[in-house]
Symmetry: C2
Subunit: 334 residues, 2 copies
């Protein structure tokens, strides 16, 4: 097998290039079947690479003179800032130099670039942003969480297939349970999109479709793949994040209320924080944009090396397990 | 002023008629400007009324031979079960015998009945189900949480006005901040519905519109009225409920982990539970169906007397403060 080639956009995140390089160093030690190209400020990147002593046969630097920031209008930025680290990294996937891109930059620009520059894979109608969402029994994959609003039933059906393949190939879930987000369990419930999509999903033989799911049951882990259009998905994901952060902060407040609660806090705060951290929906790391010719993984703007490192493994698994080939093949069967 | 007349459907809830009667008794002691008609099983209701010694000049019983259960198909049930407590209660509002209905029964049937039997108020396009949602700074009103999916911008604009009037008149919030649920702060974000609705809302002079709100900011209390169509609203509400319940349960689990955490729990569990209870989204009590000729308040299937009692006060305030007249008037101004 050829060596795996990954691109990392080192600009646009809040913590600069250093955590990215640290992540690469750690990942290099774990696997030796892949190489990395870092896109960003050339001098700075070379300095950090030297500082951490990375294997220079496996890492390459491509200098960029522009940066897409979080304030840039996404589509416009991707079109205008041709020499930005993000556009250069995306273009390298389009040209076949790399197979995947990791970026902590502007989400909208990354989604726009993934579709316009890298391009959708054969047969894919819409490329969804998928996110791992914590549940009581593990993580489920929710898609679309931010890329495509106002979609047709065909798009949701494709999301269901892509999500199922991803959970099986990357996360190792056997026959992932796929559910469609709805506002009730009965088939007459839902909006037009859901009512039209349900019967199509029920007929599919290559996924394990379990029917409608109400959002309250997502967190109890009743399904592995949660399908919805991006407006609903994004609203649910961000609400989950907001409620989680609120609970953590309110708990802290109560524990600081009195000498008595402070005493109790000394005994329970550490295990409580450690346990509940798992349910912070914005702590899950890389969100893949699926259905494009390659892979784009969005990590958080404020992500540190651990998240970047896990995104590298995600990309590596994605390529080794041939997820894209499986997706294209599953679409041909329709 | 004429005496206020309220109807209570005592069937269809999980806890039977008794909590409803207890609620009426408590409310009678607090205010003496209203009378109640209870719809349900005649003999049973009379027995409970005698048991609690209710003022018989203020309470009346209407017997019903049918019950709409949670398993009934909503529209069908409302059409067929003419002698059910729910349909009789709704019809009493239509006929002007009562001004409002409280029910713990089948939500879908209640919404269908509210629109088909009671009927929409003059000028109202769609009647939204509104719900009080806990935030860090108090409660906000989210609407629509379950009645109308696939709506047009005009409907959302009306929801914004109704919600603003409700929060000002019933909850006493001065110049309520009204926000539209969106997946980003910028105006180019959103689906077609949101993009078309935003400019109309910005032009309204009779509400305090503050723009788009991302769902994560709902819980921090950035707006008093949260406007969305019912698919998104229902998904967000139920996810909030689910995440809240999950946190409570996971916290309990951690506190029981070891002798050390159990010791800590003895010091903090009570204040923690008491404080976090406020954030249980499904504990907020009556959800009003707004924009109909009268008022329908849905309480939880498992609600106890406290929720029913608070729903009685909500109905009383609604009628005294003339919310419906204000709504109709605000729609004439457009």
């Amino acid at each position: 097998m050829d060596r795996i080639k990954l691109a990392i956009d080192t600009l646009g995140g809040d913590n600069g290039a250093e955590p990215m390089v640290v992540a690469v160093q750690a990942a290099f030690e774990k696997y030796d079947d892949f190489d990395i190209t870092l896109y960003g400020k050339e001098g700075e990147l070379n300095d950090i690479i030297n500082k951490y002593g990375l294997d220079e046969t496996r890492v390459r630097v491509v200098g960029a003179t522009e940066t897409i920031t979080c304030h840039d209008a996404p589509v416009d930025a991707v079109r205008r800032k041709k020499d930005s680290s993000m556009v250069l990294a995306l273009t390298s996937v389009k040209n076949g130099e790399n197979q995947a891109v990791i970026s902590a930059g502007n989400t909208g620009a990354l989604l726009a670039g993934g579709t316009f520059i890298v391009g959708r894979a054969k047969g894919v109608k819409r490329a969804p942003l998928a996110t791992l969402v914590p549940t009581r029994t593990g993580d489920c994959l929710m898609l679309d969480c931010g890329a495509n609003v106002d979609v047709k039933p065909e798009a949701l059906v494709q999301f269901a297939k892509m999500g199922s393949i991803y959970m099986e190939s990357i996360m190792g879930v056997k026959k992932p349970k796929v559910a469609l987000v709805n506002i009730g369990a009965e088939d007459e419930k839902g909006n037009e999109l859901v009512k039209q999509t349900l019967p199509v999903l029920r007929q599919l033989k290559d996924i394990n479709f379990v029917g409608s799911i109400e959002s309250r049951d997502i967190v109890s882990g009743q399904a592995d793949v949660i399908v919805c259009e991006a407006f609903t998905g994004n609203c649910m994901l961000k609400l989950y994040e907001g409620v989680g952060r609120m609970f953590m902060s309110e708990i802290k407040g109560v524990l600081n209320q009195s000498p008595k609660t402070k005493l109790g806090a000394a005994l329970i705060y550490k295990p409580l924080k450690k346990h509940l951290k798992r349910f912070m929906a914005d702590d899950k790391g890389g969100a893949p944009l699926l259905g494009i010719k390659g892979l784009v993984v969005k990590i958080h703007g404020n992500s540190k090396n651990a998240e970047a490192e896990s995104a590298i493994y995600q990309c590596r698994n994605f390529i080794i397990s041939g997820v894209n080939e499986k997706i294209v093949k599953s679409f041909e069967q329709v």
